[in-house]
Each structure stands twice: as C-alpha cells, then as structure tokens.
C-alpha cells in the first residue's frame, strides 16, 4: 500500500486521495481519472499521473495492479477466495502443484458464486472451469460444494505428514489423485448422468469391502427423481442389504436438493 501512496503523493489532490481510501477502483481513461463519484480531468494533473505510470516501465516491479475493466470483478473475487481460504490454500500449496491450486481456486470461486446465489455467474464460471480442466474441474467443484474438501481432503494433509515423514507430499498427491478418479463414499448426480450410470456407480461402491456408507448428492428436481427411481429399483434387488436416509432441502437458489445416504448393512461379494 505504501508504494501506491508514494506513487500518488504530490500530484493528486488530497480530497481525491481520501476518496481512494473508500474506493479501490481507479478508472483510468485517456482524458480523465475517476474514483467513486470524483473525476479528475485537469490536463496538468493527468499528465503528471500518466508520467508517473510511465516511470515504472524501466523498473522491475509495480506498486499497483493495472487490469482491464472486464477482469475487475474476477480479480476481487479471487482475492476474496484467497483471503478466506488463506490457511487451507497455504497447506495445499505445500502439497499440490500450481496447476492443481489454480483449479481449486477456480472451483472455490464457483462455490462462492453459488453461495451468493449469483446463478448466472456460477453457471458461467462452472462452464469455464470444465473447459479449463475437463477431466477434473467439475469433480473438484463437487468435492468443495459438498463439503468434502474441507472435511476430508485438507485434514488428510496432516494425516499424511504424520504417517509418512519422508514422502508425505507424494502420498497426499496419490490420495488426491485417487479421490479425483474415484470417490468411494460419494456420488454426484449431474444433469448429464442417466439412471443407468447412477445405478452402476452405486453397485460399484456396494462391492467395496468395509465401505460404511455412500452419499448421493443431487441438485434439481430432475436429478432427485432419477435417484428416487434408481433407489426404488435397488431396494427390490438388494433387499435388506442397506438402509436409506433421505435428506431433502432447498438450495439458497431455490432448487430442490437431496443428500441420500445409503448405509451398508452387509457387504456384497
């Protein structure tokens, strides 16, 4: 911050600097600078301001960010995610590659948009996440959105550290990659998954020795109905092998949602 004020000192009026304290967005145009409801268009002040920016072209570092208007909201959102998730990101950065962290940050941002009930932005960000990380973006988001990231994945870092003193990073990466490939205790039902696939995924998990439960997460009435049909058919086929806890709720955006828990009574062979 000091660097930025040093940059402004001397040529911007005090009244303008006071406004900057409350408005971090300084809009720079060819013939004016605007902060909040204050605009400077005095040519002499503008010239000093632009010269001050130009002075940094030789230096190795900048005291401020200069970003395109279209990226401003993205910047603020990523900054918020980084601040809110500072502790967990710091742990993850010690254990995962930069590419994984980028994917997690983007997925956290989608989660933030959903929590804020900004449906259009969330949908758009989710599409971008899937485009940038086709094999894992949606999975990472699902794990974050369902709470598994904070409840299971991040605590696993400490467990790996305690268990494997020399290669804990490698072991955690193995665990993380395995989770992204196949998550035994959860299934996420999306719009492009049909009933047959849901059933197949449940049966695959029911065959796992010692698996205590399977949580099926679905959002949207159509997805909830798909799960209902599959469970109804499985109840007939696997009578007495599991019990069901059906938790229904409405998301902040008003959509029907369900977390259906299949508790295993007896393992299948």
């Amino acid at each position: 911050m000091a660097g930025f004020w040093d940059f402004l000192k001397g040529f911007l009026p005090d009244s303008f600097i006071k406004v900057i304290n409350d408005n971090r967005k300084i809009i720079v145009k060819d013939t004016e600078i605007t902060v909040g409801n204050k605009t400077i268009n005095d040519p002499e002040t503008l010239s000093k301001f632009f010269n001050a920016i130009a002075n940094f072209k030789e230096s190795e570092s900048f005291p401020f960010q200069i970003i395109h208007q279209d990226l401003f909201k993205d910047y603020v959102d990523y900054e918020n995610v980084s601040i809110q998730e500072k502790q967990s990101l710091s742990l993850l950065k010690e254990n995962l590659s930069s590419e994984e962290i980028e994917c997690i940050l983007m997925a956290r941002r989608v989660h933030l948009a959903f929590n804020k009930n900004d449906k259009d932005l969330a949908k758009n960000l989710l599409e971008q996440l899937e485009k940038n990380y086709p094999s894992k973006g949606k999975k990472v988001f699902n794990l974050i959105h369902a709470g598994y990231f904070d409840e299971l994945i991040i605590p696993m870092i400490s467990i790996c550290k305690a268990q494997y003193s020399t290669n804990s990073v490698e072991k955690f990466r193995e665990f993380y990659n395995d989770i992204l490939k196949f998550f035994p205790t959860a299934i996420f039902v999306s719009n492009n998954v049909d009933e047959e696939s849901i059933k197949k995924e449940i049966l695959k998990r029911l065959r796992l020795k010692r698996i205590p439960f399977i949580k099926i997460h679905s959002i949207g009435q159509i997805n909830v109905e798909k799960v209902e049909k599959v469970i109804s058919s499985l109840k007939e086929e696997k009578k007495g092998k599991f019990s069901i806890t059906d938790n229904r709720f409405v998301t902040p955006s008003g959509m029907s949602a369900q977390v259906l828990i299949i508790s295993i009574v007896k393992n299948f062979t």
């Binding site: 930025f4 632009f50 130009a54 208007q69 980028e102």
Partner: protein, 77 residues
Amino acid sequence: MSEDDPILVFDESSKAKIIKLLGFKEEDSLLIDEEGLVQTNQQYEPVSAKDFGGVLKGSKIVIKKDQLELARYFASK
C-alpha cells in the same frame, strides 16, 4: 496482499494508452517491450495487444484478459 489495495482499471477505449505508458508497442499483433522482447504471461505464452488484460504488481506479470490468468496469479502468491 490486501483487499484494500487500489487497482487501476482501464477499458478498451484507454487500452492503447496504457500499453504505451507501460513501454510496450504492438508488432505483428504481439506486445513487445522497448528491447523488442515479446511479452509473455506466467505460462510464457505470448500476449497480443488484443488479449492484453493488464499488468500485475510485484514482478510486473503481463496477463491476458482471461480469469484463468488471475487464478494462476493467486495460486502462485
């Protein structure tokens, strides 16, 4: 990093001026500095004037106008 840090924001109408102030110019649609070096993002991909999304503080990282660039920036901090 502070959430109070001011941010200079430009739009398409002032992009050319910002590019010039930063000491860049356009050559074969790419951004080059005064030494003639093509500007690259964190992934060492050339950045064109059309895609120019700004310069981030610290080590003066040039970014494309794409939110992934910001995810990369915050991931690397």
